[in-house]
Subunit: 416 residues, 2 copies
């Protein structure tokens, strides 16, 4: 089955909004064995939309359109489809009742103009919108089928998952599906992964592995083709195990998993508490960790000691040490980690100190020089990092380096 | 002049990557008076690409294509354009030299396969790529002109700005341009803005104002039509002044300006120092503030006092107070702000305490209840906020509420 995606809206074609729906729908359709050949974006002009719909129906078996189903005058999808199919618009009483009920559940009267959202081309099948006022619909045209959904991503996704994908899959029950699983790793250069995984990365293999680097985290995507999602599971499991065997501890999680979740899981497993002392990362480690629900059981405090006075007074780093070796130094990183651990009475202490730039570099201490340290019952470990990029990138990469150091320490503690 | 954007790449049509180029190019073309009617995305199949190019040339005067100019076998833009135009590919010696030179400047030999990047359809004009190995080109086809650029956003943007836009503008020197300016504001409901700016928001007015809300920050976009960018400036200025007059202090900056930059500017203006004590925002305020270069002159420390012990020991909040009224309370917010200001010897103290959820709610203290407090020589002010959303949204909105409270305090201090 060949499909095309049509994104409808002047805000898209004018460039005021980036269309993310088309990519999302393509990936999900590919998952159930549908090939997507084209995306087209068109504004709110009925003539243009009719033409684009017609062209898509000539090329594809399935046309999935999003947008233009709202209650205002520039929402013209239903008119354009009716015109293309040469049929009239008809009121669907059941859909109207559901729109009314949605307004009622939000303790509002339905404005009169929303009534148009219950109009559909004659012969269309209405698709319920469980989370908004714009129902979708599907209708045959020539040898193709047109499915329309609202443009609001959350409404589109709900309708796609709950109705459209099962509906389409039923038409092609035997098409090969493509199922993916993402493993995430940190601290290994992409080129090294390429060497270690060379044979697995051949796209003719099933499953094969693709790598993608983003913000210093590398995603290993396992792509499997199978008769059904269920049949893909053992293939995915087998290759995931092989990856864990070859790559080992740099793999910190699956899916969209961040390093902070890996750390939080290990804190849960070990039941340990943590105190953090940040300088150049400026609170970013604390921000990430506190995005994890329930972290308050483990994270006691995070001292962003930007001034030297704070480093001495709160963390107990001797001022003469700072004067002698400078705030950006292995000695101070160690003293900060040990100081915050002692201050908080925590099991673990983590620290960062470095030069995020663009100013602040001195001789022998360039922008991007960062020390991260971790301390526990096992003693203190410090790593010297060289990060590149702008201020925000250096903060990001340094915070990740610190979290990964902490994660490796926790792995050792968990192993006993 | 009517234009169409063509985005070329299987990764786009498969949904592995969201296309941001088309929106960017549309907005920039609109700025110089070109109307964009369609975007089309197509994979790396020569047949499909030829067909899409042909359809675009029939509908538009200008077709701007990105992608498919790399050195690998699936980069087929140059072949497809040559086939459509019925001409052969020819080697451009000057372009080849430039590609070689680029490799040399990166201390590498040019791989043999990159030679294909110096092939262009006969009659095409080569567009230099100043930052990558893929030159673009433009060529006439029927009554249309096709311009191709690389798909890497940074390379595309550079080529668009430095060559394509001036080139296109020269063809339509008298077309009306559209120039925009964004003012950013916080703390006013969008509906209230709608009432105050009703007359300015009429799209037939020149300039008119459009509002867009994102993450609790509202952007007021002024859209002006004029004969040239220069002619637009007085129109934009006049409406910007009118907006500042009507909205006042909730406007905190222009462009992509965040609240933290507004705060940093005011700290620069007043020469004051700041200390922060965060609980529910977990380091986010520190993270944002330390994204601003040079903030170390003003920000002394940020204590993320997640545990009650840290609140007492570092910030001097009496433990009996926490026991009596709870950590999430006006009294504790005030004591945290005053405590961190005194501890650091800063001019200003800022604090947050609240329930970010999903757990932690108690009777009378629901998820989303947050207190923010600021203290200075003028005394202490505390505000009680009710935030909605998930954990990350509540953190985000609370940190913005705190920064805005600080900003308003600084405005008063700056006025003396």
């Amino acid at each position: 089955m060949k499909a095309e995606i049509l994104s409808i809206g002047s805000e898209l074609v004018l460039g005021e909004l980036v269309d993310t729906n088309a990519a999302y729908i393509s990936e999900r359709l590919r998952g159930i064995g549908v090939q997507v050949g084209f995306h087209t974006t068109v504004g709110d002009a009925e003539e243009d939309l009719c033409r684009a719909l017609g062209a898509a129906c000539e090329r594809a078996d399935l046309v999935v359109a999003t947008g233009g189903l709202g209650p205002t005058r520039d929402d013209i999808t239903r008119q354009a489809v009716a015109r293309l199919c040469g049929v009239a618009l008809e009121l669907d009483e059941k859909a109207l009742e559901e729109i009314r009920a949605l307004f009622k559940s939000r303790t509002r009267e339905m404005p009169e103009r929303n009534k148009v959202q219950a109009l559909f081309p004659h012969g269309a099948r209405v698709i319920r919108n469980e989370v908004g006022t714009a129902p979708g619909f599907c209708i045959a045209h020539g040898r193709s089928e047109i499915i329309t959904m609202p443009g609001v991503p959350s409404e589109m996704k709900r309708m796609l998952e709950s109705w459209v994908l099962p509906y389409v899959r039923e038409k092609i029950p035997d098409a090969e599906v493509i199922v993916t699983r993402d493993l995430r790793c940190f601290g290994v250069p992409e080129s090294e992964l390429g060497e270690k995984l060379h044979d697995l990365m051949d796209p003719t293999r099933n499953p094969y592995v693709a790598t993608q680097a983003s913000q210093a985290v590398i995603t290993l995507r396992i792509v499997a083709r199978a008769a059904s999602e269920r049949d893909a599971v053992p293939l995915l499991n087998e290759t995931a195990e092989e990856l864990r065997r070859r790559i080992g501890s740099p793999i910190f999680g699956e899916g969209r998993y961040g390093l902070e979740i890996g750390v939080a899981d290990l804190l849960d497993r070990t039941g340990m508490t943590l105190a953090v002392a940040e300088s150049c990362t400026g609170g970013l480690i604390g921000h990430w960790l506190t995005n994890v629900p329930g972290i308050s059981k483990h994270l006691l405090e995070d001292v962003v000691a930007y001034s030297n006075r704070a480093k001495s007074e709160i963390l107990g780093v001797p001022s003469e040490l700072i004067e002698r070796v400078g705030a950006v130094s292995e000695e101070v990183a160690r003293a900060m980690a040990e100081g915050v651990r002692a201050r908080a009475g925590a099991d673990l202490g983590l620290s960062t100190t470095g030069i995020a730039g663009p100013g602040g570099a001195t001789e022998g201490k360039p922008v991007g020089l960062v020390y991260v340290a971790v301390t526990s019952s096992r003693g203190t470990t410090c790593e010297k990092l060289h990060r590149w990029g702008d201020r925000e990138q250096i903060k990001d990469r340094s915070a990740k380096g610190a979290l990964d150091l902490l994660r490796r320490e926790l792995l050792k503690l968990a192993e006993g």
